[in-house]
Amino acid sequence: MGLEQIEKPPTVSTPENMKMAADGSQVSLTRRNKPGTKAKDYCRWPDEPFEEMDSTLAVQQYIQQLIKNDPSNIDLILTNPETHDEGVWKYEHLRQFCMELNGLAVRLQSQCFPATCTQMTATEQWIFLCAAHKTPKECPAIDYTRHTLDGAACLLNSYKYFPSRVVIKESSVAKLGSVCRRVYRIFSHAYFHHRAIFDEFETKTFLCLRFTRFVLKYALMSTENLIVPIPKSGDDSIIATSGESEA
């Protein structure tokens, strides 16, 4: 009796009960990583069609689902499922890139030291200044990497520019380009200075390839800035030429 207010939910929400029952009998219907899930089973649930995703995070869910299924199927990953808001689509992809770039940063931390990589460079042509500071600074490469990712995390999560993950202002979409340019330097530094790390990471994630295709598809960066050679792709001649020119 004392638990009146507690006992209410199950009686009130019969649909919920039915859903629970269904969940109980067929575990795969709930897409959850319950505590104790083995690493190999993490997020291993049946795909949810994009149309059925009713969450405000549907785009992120969908992108992650595609990447999980086959990270090398870049064309599919970059195909906006419907005439969905392109700003959101780009935004969510960029979030995903920055997130996955953490993996590269972790690997760089073990090899890229301030003593050896005193500046953020790729080729000899440019020294990149770290924009995270009040006055841009010549940070060592590892600091540049970390600061750039941290700054991107702050910007992409900024309430001012990206208050919603469903609708994004056009003025905020304009910010995405500069984030792309900065984080791309992490790829290029890794490629030119820590090739083993880059290759190991790229083989696993196809991240640089996906990123390059992404920025080209949505014209977020210009071709001459994409200095990391990437494999030729029959259906995308721009990338092929960019790869050749730098190789």
Partner: protein, 645 residues
């Protein structure tokens, strides 16, 4: 005739209603006086302590020892079914009390004025009431304090009768104490625990209560016994010890006046009775709750909660204040610094982030009270699943899907977010698990760390020692551990939640690695499919609390392994639990997107906050109480953590 009769009946009804309301009013007035009395007591005590002259009885006061006495009491107590009616009346009573307290404003002058008025209203003294006052069921707190002032005067023999008045006192006193904590220095707030437990012990017995009630009824109307007690107390305080005999007669007159004014006709017993029984119920519930509630009194840090609490409304309402957004994916875990307004979040985006709530960055990048992270911990190569902070706040430990447990040195929380990379922040890595690490917990005394992994094992570590690995627990037959915690009440034990076909918790001794108790029901089949998401140990009592996929929260007795209580707590799986440092409140998070705050005394939900959005079928992963400050926090699949104040 009928035409006339009907209005008469209506009049009778209305008169009855009015009487009921007046009796309610009378009840409240008596409660106010009890509050005043308690305030007086506190002030007197404070005064005495301030001027250093401890009366002899004050030496009894011990610092709160949370285990003694209380622990035995609560287990049976929790079985007591509370009627919702009594809960409601009790709550309403408390609410009104607090409103009155607000009106009173706690100021000295007002209290003095009021007490003078009450005294003039009540006359001076009353012998029979004084006897009742002396009865043993007044809780120890009261006795101690009062004895200090009135020992010499208390000559009349104690009556065995324990009136309802005292029970009501207990009730109101619980409320008073909860409210009045801030008045006295915390270290002396708590009087002898054992006495308190004993005092409560008596009325806990149901038979005893029944006897009292009947006695009460046969005794007739004593509408003013609480009044009289309050009045007597006031007399004591003012040392009006002389001329007791003369006072008696005058007081009788006052009594009847008082009775009339309160609308209790002496001849009409029935109108009075409902109130009494209502009060009995109040008392019953308050006793169930009261024990734990009174425990708060000795807790220094709890005071910080209650100061604001008493100044606000009936109970504390938590509001979202800080939004911690900087993660790219679900926030799986969070942990507060033990002292500072600092917390760390662990996310599926492979990172952990350090936040200082006092550094709300109002740069062009953020609006309102957005907090920007001060440091990003990078070392995991997969989602970070669990996190815990060392007791001294110097280190934190994180476990990930990559099977690694990283030990981190906490950077200074005033660090420049864009400082150079210091590899020494990653202190060490504990290797041993071969699959995802899902649970971590630190021992407050031994500095031990316990981890549980999807590889089926639970491991004990001493992360600050040279030899970090200590022991492995469990066997594959138990299933996969989902969550682990130290048994706080004992310290040398851990409780592990296993999920296999049957879900259950097992308590192990950390020295011998032997399993001591299995928390399960007699019907083993009961726990089939009741997947446990989280297990937490009560900080002071031998109670383990589990959060289940079947939307329940369950309470277990560590001694017997029995299920003490089971309740549907959310609309969807309960994923996370946290208990405040003093064991009074439970916070639960669920995939239904809400967090709920539970009063552990009566296990009722005090507040529900919808805090996060869903990603796939997941919403809230973790909740936490700040160990020493009034903050609570939730971590969500929507990549956001929220802090409530």
């Amino acid at each position: 005739m009928q035409v006339i009769r009907l209005p008469q009946a209506r009049i009778a009804v209305l008169v009855g209603e009015r009487k009921g309301q007046e009796s309610l009013k009378g009840d409240l007035i008596r409660r106010i006086k009890m509050l005043e009395y308690a305030l007086k007591q506190e002030r007197a005590k404070f005064h005495r302590l301030k001027f250093g002259c401890d009366p002899p009885s004050m030496n009894d006061i011990k610092p709160p020892t949370d285990e003694t006495g209380i622990s035995n009491e609560v287990a049976p107590d929790l079985e007591v079914p509370f009627s919702s009616v009594s809960n409601i009346t009790w709550r309403q009573g408390r609410q009104l009390l607090r409103q009155y307290l607000q009106e009173i404003g706690y100021t000295d002058t007002i209290i003095d004025v009021r007490s003078n008025r009450v005294r003039s209203l009540l006359g001076l003294n009353n012998n029979s009431e004084q006897d009742e006052n002396n009865s043993p069921s007044i809780n120890g707190n009261e006795n101690n304090k009062r004895a200090s002032e009135s020992q010499g005067r208390r000559t009349p023999a104690k009556k065995s009768q324990t009136g309802v008045a005292e029970l009501m006192i207990l009730d109101s006193e619980a409320a008073v104490l909860a409210n009045f904590e801030f008045l006295g220095p915390p270290d002396v707030e708590m009087s002898d625990e054992d006495d308190l437990a004993e005092g409560l012990d008596i009325p806990l017995d149901a038979d005893d209560c029944a006897v009292k009630t009947s006695k009460r009824k046969t005794k007739g109307i004593k509408s003013d016994d609480v009044d009289a007690e309050a009045e007597e107390v006031l007399n004591e305080l003012n040392l009006l010890t002389e001329a007791e005999d003369t006072n008696t007669s005058s007081n009788k007159i006052e009594d009847s006046d008082w009775t009339k004014s309160l609308g209790y006709p002496n001849s009409n017993d029935t109108t009075r009775r409902p109130l009494i029984s209502g009060n009995d119920e109040d008392v019953d519930s308050s006793l169930g709750l009261g024990e734990l509630a009174q425990l708060t009194v000795g807790n220094e840090a709890e005071t910080t909660y209650d100061v604001s609490n008493s100044k606000e409304a009936y109970r504390r309402t938590w509001n979202a204040k800080y939004t911690l957004r900087s993660h790219f994916d679900g926030v799986r875990a969070l942990a507060f610094h033990p002292q500072e307004p600092v917390l760390i979040t662990a996310s599926e985006d492979h990172t952990l982030k350090l936040w200082n709530l006092q550094k709300t960055v109002l740069t062009k990048k953020s609006a309102g009270l957005d907090v920007e992270p001060l440091y990003t911990f990078r070392a995991h190569t997969g989602p970070v699943l669990c996190l815990t902070m060392s007791t001294n706040g110097e280190h934190c430990y994180s476990g990930g899907l990559d099977g690694a447990i990283h030990c981190w040195n906490l950077p200074n929380w005033n660090i420049d977010p864009y400082d150079s990379y210091d590899p020494a922040v990653l202190r060490s890595t504990l290797d041993g698990h071969t699959d995802a690490v899902w649970g971590l917990s630190v021992n407050h005394t031994g500095g031990h760390l316990v981890s549980c992994s999807a590889d089926g094992y639970v491991k004990l570590w001493s992360p600050q020692s040279k030899v970090q690995y200590l022991n492995t627990f469990g066997s594959e037959s138990e299933g996969i551990p989902a969550s682990v915690d130290f048994v706080r009440e004992v310290n040398e034990q851990i409780v592990v939640a296993y999920n296999d076909k049957v879900s259950r918790c097992v308590i192990y001794d950390i020295e011998t690695t032997k399993s001591l108790v299995r928390l399960e029901t007699n019907e083993i089949s009961f726990m089939i499919g009741r997947f446990i998401n989280k297990v937490v140990s009560h900080p002071t009592l031998p109670i383990t609390i589990t959060a289940h996929e079947d939307r329940h929260i369950r309470f277990w007795d560590n001694r017997t392994g029995n299920l003490m209580h089971s309740m549907v707590a959310h609309l969807e799986p309960v994923t996370s639990l946290a208990i405040d440092a003093h064991g009074l409140y439970l916070l639960s998070g669920s995939h239904d997107c809400s967090i709920r705050l539970w009063n552990l005394d009566n296990r009722t939900c005090e507040q529900e906050i919808t805090a996060h959005r869903k990603k796939f079928d997941e919403s809230i992963f973790d909740v936490a109480f700040h160990p020493s400050r009034p903050y609570i926090a939730s971590a969500g699949a929507d990549a956001v953590a929220k802090v409530f104040v």
